[in-house]
């Protein structure tokens, strides 16, 4: 992939990935996710604590010596909750 840039695109110096991400973020802010969503995120944090003990459907597969939250560890975390 060594195509030369479009002749009339020289004014745009920002990488495409950056500008589209900015567009996406502005869109999310415009619809309320990010501003209104913060309260929900706080609730969700609480919900996640419960979920870790309850279901936690998926997790990172074991690769090498990476961290893994086994049932044993999850049980331990459950004992640390009030």
């Amino acid at each position: 992939m060594s195509k030369s840039p479009q002749p009339n695109a020289s004014a745009s110096v920002a990488p495409i990935a950056h500008s589209t991400d900015l567009k996406r973020r502005r869109f999310l802010l415009a619809v309320g996710v990010g501003v209104g969503g913060t309260g929900a995120a706080a609730v969700a944090t609480q919900a996640m604590v419960a979920q870790v003990a309850a279901t936690a459907p998926v997790e990172v597969a074991v690769e090498g010596q990476g961290y893994r939250e086994t049932e044993h560890v999850r049980d331990y975390y459950a004992t640390t909750r009030i």
Binding site: G36, T38, A47, Q51, T55, A56, P57, G66
Partner: protein, 214 residues
């Protein structure tokens, strides 16, 4: 030696990767929806939702309005009724009112090719079910949890790119989550979960549109 007992366990269970506030909010909303579809809300969760601030509804914002209805419904709902409704709606082989599994909606049967395709994708992404978990990967709750992990990363796993999130959404969520949530919303026995599904549908539409931007 009293200093030995002063060591406290870590307050968080995973390394938090730095992500944009909007992405944190998205992850939070997915976590909440995942939690609500994984099991009925208990009293604490209902109270926590009920106590959150209302979103401002400038220009009749449907997402904000739906969130505010969910907040109000959470204040009016009790945990026993939520458990009964959840059981009636989602639990029971062949008896549940609305099947929360993707394969059912895409292929017409549970545990069909769409689930196999999803498992292939999960393996490629380095994700798998926790040992001992019986929930299928194509359950609404598991699907939301999966994309939440793609957004936030988890433990040694960094957040996934927007492109990866988009691909997962387009391949494994878009074909069925809207139909499923609409079915919940319109189900005659749905009360609290009609509000959950209504907000879910609108949030997922925002997700579809924002991820399509790249």
């Amino acid at each position: 030696m009293t200093s030995d007992v002063s060591i406290q366990p870590a307050a968080t269970v995973a390394i938090a990767w730095p992500i944009a506030p909007e992405d944190e909010a998205r992850a939070g909303l997915y976590a909440l929806l995942s939690r609500l579809f994984a099991a009925p809300p208990d009293t604490l969760l209902l109270e926590a939702i009920a106590m959150t601030d209302h979103w401002t509804e400038e220009g009749h914002d449907p997402l904000a309005a739906a969130w505010n209805r969910l907040v109000i419904a959470s204040g009016a709902m009790d945990a026993d009724a939520a458990m009964q409704e959840y059981t009636d709606l989602f639990v029971g082989v062949g008896k549940c009112a609305v099947n929360p599994h993707g394969s059912h909606w895409i292929a017409g049967f549970m545990m069909e090719k769409p689930l196999a395709d999803l498992r292939t994708t999960l393996a490629r992404l380095g994700l798998a079910r926790e040992p001992g978990v019986t929930m299928l990967e194509d359950h609404l709750a598991a699907t939301f949890e999966t994309i939440r992990i793609l957004i936030t990363g988890r433990g040694p796993r960094p957040p996934s790119s927007t492109a990866t999130q988009h691909d997962f959404f387009a391949a494994h969520m878009e074909p069925w989550v809207f139909i499923c949530c609409t079915a919940i919303e319109q189900c005659s026995i749905a009360n609290y979960y009609a509000r959950v599904a209504e907000f879910g549908t609108l949030f997922l539409a925002v997700e579809r549109d924002s991820l399509a931007m790249g």
